[in-house]
């Protein structure tokens, strides 16, 4: 393919870089994208993560070429593609609803892109067979999409996008329509294909677990801007804003104030060390992940009292719903096998040593 990624003997493609430079987009007076810049390295998977309306889908449509941005530039493999139609941007896309052609068989769907590019019939047949094998769907070549399950349809949609050897693969909420068990299988499948072909991929999702499991880096979006961009563990452990903190993972927000000696006095009744220095007297919110809350049966200065309202066994872990003094709810996750105080007596909560605690100004 002249305009595809580099094709190796095995039919593998190598991903190219993708650059979004100061892209803004307005729908009338509504600013859907506000000066967004990011760079995805060859072979990297980036997740665009955010709630609905944050601009992630708009950004995906701009990159794919379905929408012309108001300002800014998009480059694929170092080449500006702003003025190119979607089919000539060296980009493959898997739609949320898969968008398989309902009147064509699985094989015809996979071969559609090559046929549209005028490939020879024998070449289309060869590569169609090859990519059906890649997604392990060779037995279903002659089925129509409506005769396939959701997971099978997604495999065909992946094969269809990969068959034209795109340099960048865009995945729009790829797991949203799958049930939970299948979702994990497909996450593994996509990761496997991405490794095998060295694909550059952008994954749009509102599900943080999905983003964390598949992506090398995560861009958390809000109101048309990128709020934080970094490796999943960084974004999880060191959220830069309260929004990112709340959106990524579950958390306990404990209000408090900075004391004269620099420590933080929580309203619930414990004194903890702040993750970073803060001016005395400042009102803050301390965020502690549920897995970082420890339980004790005796008081201490760095513990606050609470009692257990509810215990939800979720297989390997148990989620506890505690009530601190003043009625504030505290979530705790602990291994079911973990030793600990009995839950029906008075409890004292502390913060696990070495835990990543975040602190934000109260009005942020």
């Amino acid at each position: 393919m002249a305009d595809g990624g580099a094709v190796t003997e095995a039919g593998a493609t190598h991903g190219v870089s993708l650059e979004v430079d100061a892209v803004s987009h307005e729908f009338g007076a509504y600013r859907a994208l506000d000066d967004v810049s990011l760079r995805v390295e060859p072979g990297e998977v980036m997740a665009l993560l955010g709630p609905s309306g944050c601009g992630k889908t708009t950004l995906l449509r701009v990159i794919a070429g379905f929408l012309a941005q108001s300002r800014g530039a998009v480059s694929v493999g170092g080449v500006r593609v702003d003025r190119l139609p979607p089919g000539r941007r060296n980009i493959g896309i898997v739609f949320q609803n898969y968008a398989l052609f309902p009147h064509l068989t699985a094989a015809q769907n996979v071969g559609y892109g090559l046929a549209a590019r005028g490939a020879a019939r024998a070449e289309i047949a060869r590569r169609t067979r090859q990519f059906l094998e890649v997604v392990r769907m060779e037995a279903y070549a002659e089925r129509l999409p409506r005769e396939l399950s959701g997971g099978q349809q997604q495999r065909i949609a992946l094969a269809r996008a990969l068959c034209v050897s795109p340099g960048v693969l865009l995945l729009d909420e790829p797991f949203a329509a799958l049930d939970k068990n299948l979702r994990l299988d497909m996450q593994i499948e996509i990761k496997r294909l991405q490794r095998r072909f060295g694909l550059t991929a952008i994954l749009v999702t509102h599900d943080q677990e999905e983003a964390m499991s598949v992506a090398d880096r995560v861009a958390v979006m809000r109101g048309g801007r990128i709020e934080q961009l970094g490796p999943p563990a960084d974004v999880y452990d060191r959220p830069e804003t309260l929004f990112v903190n709340n959106f990524i993972g579950s958390t306990n927000l404990l209000p408090g104030a900075v004391a004269a000696d620099g420590s933080v006095r929580l309203a619930a009744g414990a004194t903890v060390a702040p993750p970073r220095p803060a001016p005395a007297g400042a009102r803050v919110v301390v965020s502690v992940r549920p897995e970082d809350v420890t339980l004790h049966d005796a008081p201490a200065p760095d513990r606050f009292p609470a009692r257990c309202r509810l215990s939800l066994p979720l297989g390997a872990v148990t989620v506890l719903d505690l009530e601190a003094e003043g009625g504030a709810a505290v979530k705790v996750v602990r291994l079911r096998s973990a030793e600990g105080p009995t839950l029906d007596g008075p409890l004292w909560c502390g913060v696990r040593e070495g835990a990543r605690v975040s602190m934000f100004a109260e009005d942020s």
Binding site: R88, I93, A99, F101, H103, Y112, A116, R160
Partner: protein
């Protein structure tokens, strides 16, 4: 497994067989169907089997007269051709408007549908007379061609097949558009994006995605336009005048003017059968395209 299957089958049979108390519910519709559709059709067939205009004796003469006369056979062929040509023109116009519809926003779609339905609120007679004004030698088409220097003398498209097809296409267009747009409106827009993203040109997307997925609407539209335009007595008579003769006009003359009811019945049945034949072919083509 087998026992379960036979149980299922027994259940299905039991459901198919209507138990006595359900018959009165079906009876009104059944009676209307028999009284207003089957009985008149039987009467038509019975009438056509009479040999003479006075209906004094039975005989195949009326049928022989129609099938043996090249004039009437040509009228029949012209009628079917008129229908096919009108279908072809409405098909092209319908797909073009359908593509506009696909690109339109929901508000624009509503406006477009309103514009399409609007002519249906006017009588066919009024619409046909409007076409007389447009197509006549003092009409808009002729004057425009004169003004543009395309022709040196005024001309009239009245009493020509072209003029008739143009006006029929406009008059029957809503019948093509309503089923077509309802099917096209349900095409997932992501499919068009997917086709573009895979490198397909607009034409390829039209031929390989839009038209196959619109096949049910196209088939229904073609059937309606064909059946309606072959039977469009008013437009055929007013625009075609005395020079163009189609089967509805022959039926009218035979039944109202010369009172030869058996022969009128024969022409009616021939129109019915040939239209049904063409409809069968269109339907079959539509199914093949979808498969």
């Amino acid at each position: 497994m087998t026992a379960a299957a036979s149980d299922l089958r027994a259940g299905a049979v039991a459901r198919l067989r209507l138990s006595p108390p359900e018959w009165p519910l079906v009876a009104p519709l059944g009676l209307i169907f028999v009284g207003f559709f089957l009985a008149p059709l039987a009467l038509l067939v019975w009438t056509s089997m009479h040999a003479d205009a006075e209906m004094t004796r039975l005989g195949p003469e009326s049928w022989m007269r129609f099938l043996g006369d090249p004039f009437y056979l040509k009228v029949a062929a012209d009628t079917l051709l008129l229908g096919l040509k009108t279908v072809a023109l409405t098909l092209v116009l319908g797909v073009a408007i359908g593509l506009i519809f696909l690109e339109a926003s929901p508000a624009q779609r509503t406006a477009l549908l309103f514009i399409i339905i609007l002519p249906l609120l006017l009588s066919v007679v009024v619409r046909t007379f409007a076409w007389i004004v447009i197509l006549g030698s003092e009409g808009v088409v002729s004057n425009a061609a004169l003004a543009l220097g395309l022709t040196s003398a005024p001309f009239s498209l009245l009493q020509t097949e072209l003029g008739l097809i143009i006006s029929l296409a406009q008059i029957e267009l809503p019948l093509m558009l309503l089923p077509l747009l309802s099917v096209m409106g349900r095409i997932d827009p992501n499919l068009l994006d997917a086709s573009r993203a895979l490198g397909a040109s607009r034409w390829r997307t039209l031929w390989r995605v839009i038209l196959p997925l619109s096949a049910p609407g196209l088939t229904a539209g073609c059937l309606l336009v064909f059946a309606s335009s072959t039977a469009a007595f008013i437009s055929q008579s007013v625009i075609g005048g005395g020079r163009l003769i189609y089967m509805p006009l022959v039926i009218w003359q035979q039944s109202i003017v010369v009172y030869n009811w058996p022969f009128a019945a024969v022409v009616s049945l021939c129109l019915l059968i040939s239209v049904l034949g063409v409809i069968g072919v269109i339907h079959w083509l539509g199914r093949r395209v979808r498969a």
